[in-house]
Symmetry: C2
Subunit: 469 residues, 2 copies
C-alpha cells in the first residue's frame, strides 16, 4: 500500500488548487481484499477459541472520556490520540481494550464476567514504523473478571494462548511468565525507592529489545538509580527457568525478605501445577526479565514470543517478538468504582498485526492463492441482446441464496466472460443463448473441466444446488 | 446502559480526589453480550448478501487526513470529529465509508472494484439523541466502481437493499428513488441560482422529517429563495409514482427544458425496466422529494424506509425512518486523482443501528431468549478435591475442539454447578467423583432431561461429539 500521488485538488474549481498527497495517515493502512481474507481467517480461529472457553462478546466505543484513560498507561508504548476540543466532552481514542472493559464492569456494577472483544486500538508510537507495528491496530482480548480461587482463571488464559498459537501454526513459541509482585519484591530488596518502581519497571520491560547493559545504563544514567542497585536487579533479571527456579527463589535469603515476592512465588508454583495438568508446562518459562509496560498489572504477567523455526541449521532459536500478552490486574475496576469495590481480573491480548504479517509472508512464500470472492455461479451469454434474460436468471439464483455474478455489460464477449470466471475461480457457468431460449433449456458449464451439460430451464436452481452441495 | 456513578478517583491516593462521572461519551454506547449476539446475527445476514453478489472485503483506517474528508459533506448530518493537533498530520475520524473507498480507489489506481465494508463511522450530530441515532454508529456498505453499461449496477444495488430488508424480516418497506440530475433540473427550471443548488438540496432532504410548509419556510426565510421559486420546487417535490410519472415528467414542458433532468429521467426509465426483471419494481417508488444530504451524489439516489406493519387497523402505513440509502457518485474518485481520472461508482449503505433497535424491540416483545455463550459441555464434580481431575478433563475437551466450561473454584457445590448450567443453557454435563474415578468412568448428564448415563473415561470425547452432532 505504498501508492501515493500528488493531487491537484479539484474540489473547488474556482479556488486556487492546492497540491496535496493522497495517502493514509502515518502508521495506518488499508487492508486489501486479499489481506481481509487472511485477516478474517485469523480472527475466526481466535474468536473460535474464545468461544470454546465460554466467553461472551462485548463492544465499547472507539473513544472514551479522556479522564477514563489517563494514568492507566506508562509512556512505554507511545501516546494517546486525543480528540480536538470541539465544545463538549474531552475524548481520546482507546489505547487498549482492557481499560474500557474495566470501565464497563464498574459502570454496570458487574462482579463477574468472562468476555472477549475484538477491535482496533490506537497508539501514537514515537519510533519509526517497524514490521508489524502500527499506530492503528487490531487487538483480540479475552478476560475473566471475578473473585475466584487462585490461579485457575490465570491458568486458563495461558491455555488459551497456547491453543491459539498452536492453532494458527506459526511455528514454535514460548510463553514467558513472571509476577508483578516478584518484580516489585526484587526492586524492594535491591533498594529501589518505592516511587520509582513503575519507571524502573518500564526500563526493565525493554529487556527483550535491549541488552542488560543498555537497560542498566538507562536505569542509572537516565533514571538516576545507584549502580549497585541496578546491578542487584540485574542479577535477578537475567534468571529464567521452571519450577526449580521458583523453589530456589523461594529460599533466596534476600528475595524471601519480601512478603510480596513470596506471595508471587507461591502463586506461580500453583500456576505451574495447573499448567502441567493442562499439558502445556513445557511451553512456559518463568522469566524474571519480564516486566510488562502497562501500569495496571498487579500479579501474574505473561508474554508469548515466537521462536524462529528450527531446521535453519546452526541458528539458535530466535525471539521474533511478542505476539500475545496479558496478566492479572486486580485493582483497575476499583479505580472506576465510586466505593472502590475491587473486581479482580486476569486476561490476555492477541496482537493480530504481527501474526497477520507472518501468515501473509508464509502464504506469499508458498505461493498459495487466495480467493477474495465466494461467487459460485456466473451467468453468461454468447449472444447479443440477452441482458434481460441474464437479469431474470441471476435474480432467480440470488433469490435461491446462490452466490452469482454477471458482467455489467449489455453485450459482453463470451471470451471476456470465460476469462472473468477463470481469473476469479468461479466454479460454475450458466449460459443462455438463442438456441437455449428456444428450447427452454440452459447450458451449465464447469469452468475447471470445461464440461458442459444441458438442463431444463425450470430445474436450474435445483441442479446448481445439487452440484454445489 | 444508563448506569452512572460519581467516582471518587483513587488513582493517586496522595492527590486531591476529584469527583467524576463514569460514563461513555455522549452519543456512544457499549454493546452488551446480549446485544452483540443480535448485532452479529444482523451483520451476518447483511454480509452474506454482499458476498452473494460477489463483493470483496476492504478495511480502511478509522481516521483519515482531514483534507481527505473536507468539502465532501453538507452539514446536514452533523460535524466531523477532528483529532487534536499533537504534532503531526491533521486527522479526522471518518464520517462514512464512501469517501475512504473513493480515496482507496484513487490511491491504488483501481478502475473497477466491487467491495463491501463494515465499520464504525462518527458524526457529531447536533440534535439530542433520538431513538437509534448515535454519534458512533456502524455502517455496512456495498459499492460497485467502474465504467459499465447504464443502470445495471444501480439496479443490483436496489436488488441488494430488497434482499437484505426482506431477509431481516423487518416488515414492509419501500425504496424511494430519484436522480440528482432531476433534482438539479427542477432547481434550474424553477430559477434557483446554481451556487445555491446544494444548500437548497439539503433543505429538500428534510422533507421526510418536516412538512413542505416548513421546508419552504427554510428555503425562503433562512436561505433567501424567492417565494415563487420555492413554490415552483414544491409543485414537483410533492410528486411520487412509478413509470407513468417518469413518462409524464419527460413530457413536462418546463422540466424537459433541462437536458440534465431528461438524462436522469431516461436512466430511471431503464432502471425501472431492470427492477421489473428483478421482480422488485413494486417495492420502488419514484419520489421527487428525495434529495439525499450528501454532496457527492451525481445520478440515481435512493433511500429505503420501513412502513409500519399493517394489521394495526385504521392506521395508515407510516414512515418509521430510513434504514438504508445510497446512490451514484461518478465524480468523487476523480477528486482524489492527480489527473482527475473518473471512476464512476454506485453504492448503498445499511444503517445497522436502526435495524438493530427494531430487532431488539421485536425480540423483547416476543420474550425470545438469547444465549450469549456457545458452551456445549460443563465439567462438574459432586465432591471435594477434584479440581485437578476437572482441569485434566476440561483440557481434553478443549483440545478436541469442544466448547467447555467449569467453575473457577477448588470445591464448588454441585447445586451451584447445576444452576450455572441451567442459567446459561449448557446442554451437557460431565460429572466426575470418587466412584467414577475408581471405576474409570464418567457420568454424562443431559441438563434439560436430567437423564444420566455412565460411559468409559476413554470414550468421553467421542461420546460427546456423537451427542453434539
Amino acid at each position: 500500500m505504498t501508492a501515493q500521488a500528488v493531487l491537484t485538488s479539484q474540489l473547488k474549481p474556482h479556488q486556487e488548487k492546492p497540491n496535496f498527497i493522497i495517502k493514509v495517515p502515518k502508521g495506518t493502512r488499508d487492508l486489501s481484499p486479499q489481506q481481509m481474507v487472511v485477516r478474517e481467517k485469523i480472527l475466526e480461529k481466535i474468536i473460535g477459541c474464545f468461544k470454546r472457553h465460554g466467553a461472551r462478546g462485548l463492544d465499547t466505543p472507539a473513544f472514551e472520556l479522556t479522564e477514563t484513560l489517563t494514568e492507566k498507561y506508562e509512556d512505554t508504548f507511545g501516546l494517546m490520540y486525543d480528540l480536538k476540543d470541539q465544545g463538549g466532552e474531552l475524548l481520546s481514542l482507546r489505547y487498549d481494550l482492557t481499560v474500557p472493559f474495566a470501565r464497563y464492569l464498574a459502570m454496570n456494577k458487574l462482579k463477574k464476567m468472562k468476555r472477549y472483544q475484538v477491535g482496533k486500538v490506537w497508539r501514537r508510537e514515537s519510533p519509526a514504523l517497524v514490521q508489524g507495528r502500527y499506530r492503528e491496530f487490531c487487538q483480540c482480548d479475552f478476560d475473566i473478571a471475578g473473585e475466584f480461587d487462585p490461579m485457575i482463571p490465570d491458568a486458563e488464559c495461558l491455555k488459551i494462548m497456547c491453543e491459539i498459537l498452536s492453532g494458527l501454526q506459526l511455528g514454535d513459541f514460548l510463553i514467558k511468565v513472571n509476577d508483578r509482585r516478584i518484580v516489585d519484591g526484587i526492586f524492594a530488596v535491591c533498594g529501589v525507592p518505592e516511587d520509582r518502581f513503575r519507571t524502573i519497571c518500564s526500563s526493565m520491560d525493554k529487556l527483550d529489545k535491549m541488552s542488560w547493559e543498555d537497560v542498566r545504563h538507562e536505569m542509572v544514567a537516565e533514571k538516576g538509580l545507584a549502580p549497585e542497585v541496578a546491578d542487584g536487579i540485574g542479577e535477578y533479571a537475567q534468571c529464567h527457568g521452571g519450577i526449580s527456579l521458583i523453589e530456589e527463589l523461594s529460599k533466596d535469603p534476600r528475595l524471601s525478605q519480601s512478603q510480596l515476592a513470596l506471595q508471587g512465588l507461591g502463586d506461580l508454583k500453583l500456576l505451574f501445577e495447573y499448567l502441567t495438568l493442562f499439558g502445556i508446562a513445557e511451553k512456559i518459562s518463568f522469566d524474571l526479565s519480564l516486566a510488562r509496560g502497562l501500569d495496571y498489572y498487579t500479579g501474574v504477567i505473561y508474554e508469548a514470543v515466537l521462536l524462529q523455526s528450527p531446521g535453519q541449521a546452526g541458528k539458535e532459536a530466535l525471539n521474533v517478538g511478542s505476539v500475545a500478552a496479558g496478566g492479572r490486574y486486580d485493582g483497575l475496576v476499583a479505580q472506576f468504582d465510586p466505593k472502590g469495590h475491587r473486581v479482580p481480573c486476569v486476561g490476555l491480548s492477541i496482537g493480530v498485526e504481527r501474526i497477520f504479517c507472518l501468515v501473509e509472508q508464509k502464504m506469499k512464500a508458498s505461493g498459495e492463492k487466495v480467493r477474495t470472492t465466494e461467487t459460485q455461479v456466473f451467468v453468461a451469454t454468447p449472444q447479443q441482446n440477452f441482458l434481460r434474460e441474464r437479469l431474470k436468471l441471476i435474480a432467480e439464483l440470488w433469490d435461491a441464496g446462490i452466490k452469482a455474478e454477471m458482467l455489467y455489460k449489455n453485450n459482453p464477449k463470451l471470451l471476456t466472460q470465460l476469462h472473468y470466471c477463470e481469473k476469479t475461480d468461479i466454479p460454475l457457468m450458466v449460459i443462455i443463448g438463442e438456441q437455449e431460449q428456444r428450447e427452454g433449456v440452459i447450458k451449465l458449464r464447469s469452468v475447471a473441466s470445461r464440461e458442459e451439460v444441458i438442463i431444463n430451464r425450470e430445474s436450474l436452481v435445483a441442479e446448481i444446488q445439487k452440484r454445489l452441495s
